[in-house]
Amino acid sequence: MPGTLSTLARRMDRLYEFDREPVAEARLQAGRRFAGLFAGEHVAATEFVIGAFFVLHGVSARDLILGLLAGNFLAVLSWTLICAPIAVRTRLTLYWYLRKIAGPGMTLVYNIANAFLYCILAGAMISVSATAVGLGFGIRTPELHQLMPNSVGWVVLTLSIGAAFTILAILGFEKLSKFASVCSPWIFVIFLAGAVATFRPLGIHPNLDNLWEVLQTRVWNGVPTPGQEKFGMAHVIFFAWFCNLAMHAGLSDMALFRYARSWKYGLYSAFGMYPGHMLAWMCSGIMVAGVNRQMDPGLMAYQAAGLAGVLAVMLAGWTTANPTLYRAGLALQVITPDWPRWKITLLAGIATSILAVFPVFFLRLLDYVAIYGLVLMPVGAVVFAEHWILPRLGLEQYRAEKHGWLFNWRALLVWVGTLAVCWGMPFHLYFRWLPGYVLAVAAYTVLQYVPAAQRVKAAAPVSGGLP
């Protein structure tokens, strides 16, 4: 088994070989590039669903606005104070830095877990696109309580869209990524257009004198839809904060910030958070109010923006699913090294399309986003402790690399143990990651400190012993 794992880990190293070395000074990027990247990345199909769910969960207008301001600010701080400083100091991706800390075996497990979670996310995005395409064929979107497919039509539709996305990804991932960058600003504008157009059916006067009153009574009126849990400001703050947990506290975005000239570039994440995770969420909330709170992104966008809206939902789903298929394919390539790229993308596409059939993933998207971040968070905590705390305690860093370990068992124990503790925490899923993160940092530090102290004690001469 260890032999197999180390073979797999070697294959994975070869795949990521191109970014093994720290980024050179000459390749560092200007701040505006980060602003553009964040602005483009955080307006996706998920935004159509998340913003609408806040309405369904009965968030009040005041709680939503204050919650999103605060939660997104905390997310920006997490990028700026946790992720960017480590990335700028090491100039490495999380993959290579984690390999030094936890060993190639753990990196492999992390990557496969990440790919699996990404496949589910891509599946959810295919489902969201299906709600738009289904309108044209009269196929009904599953309702909130339907966690399994509701009709043969839905199954055929999601599988067909999944197949189309997969074929497009096989034909040319890079060209499609460039096209996705063309889509991003337009999708954002469609969010705004849809919200503004919904003002009229909601009864907002052209001079906006009753805007706040309508938003409080007809959009975020504080009353949850039957069957949905009531959310308050704390839920909104925490959701906005952990929505990209794997990227900031989980350190995935080291891949991005290793190109930053300064850790302060983390602040550019605000260009993604406030337009995408505040304005776009608010716009989708307004749009869902325009369709009597029906969780049907396709219908919602069609009502608000016509064919352009339908196109926006489709393209938003596709632009999210496309890079996800690529990433999942990259992880799968470790297990199937002799397969050509098209075959691996096909495999990832089939898995994603099958997942897309089940509406549970997009109808429980908020919970899924929480679980996704929670699962990967302890790895970021381990890296944080190793990078900042161990040197301050005089403890040796990068022992996995120095001793050639396949696994740093302490890191693995912290990962699994933190998840087990978080699972049993007696409060809402959204609030578990923060104590979990603190626990993971503390546990890893203690697990490194205790054996180091014992080694020092064992090496020290015993008083009263031999002269």
């Binding site: 337009w186 504008v189 469609i190 257009a193 503004v196 157009a197 907002i204 923006a305 016509g306 352009a308």
Partner: protein
């Protein structure tokens, strides 16, 4: 290049102007949705050309 960039940006502005016109009562819902769609098509044609020339 500058012309294509200008067309792209204007079409995006058009996408925003259409719903505002509808909200203010200057256009009916059908006109608004048609305008939005037309401006969107112009955006995709112009912005794709702009992006490919830039790269």
């Amino acid at each position: 290049m500058k012309l294509i960039a200008a067309i792209s940006l204007l079409s995006l502005a058009g996408c925003l102007a259409a719903p505002i016109a509808y909200f203010l009562g200057a256009a009916d819902v059908t006109t608004y949705k048609r305008l939005l769609f037309v401006f969107s098509v112009i955006w995709f044609v112009a912005a794709t050309a702009w992006a490919s020339r830039k790269s």
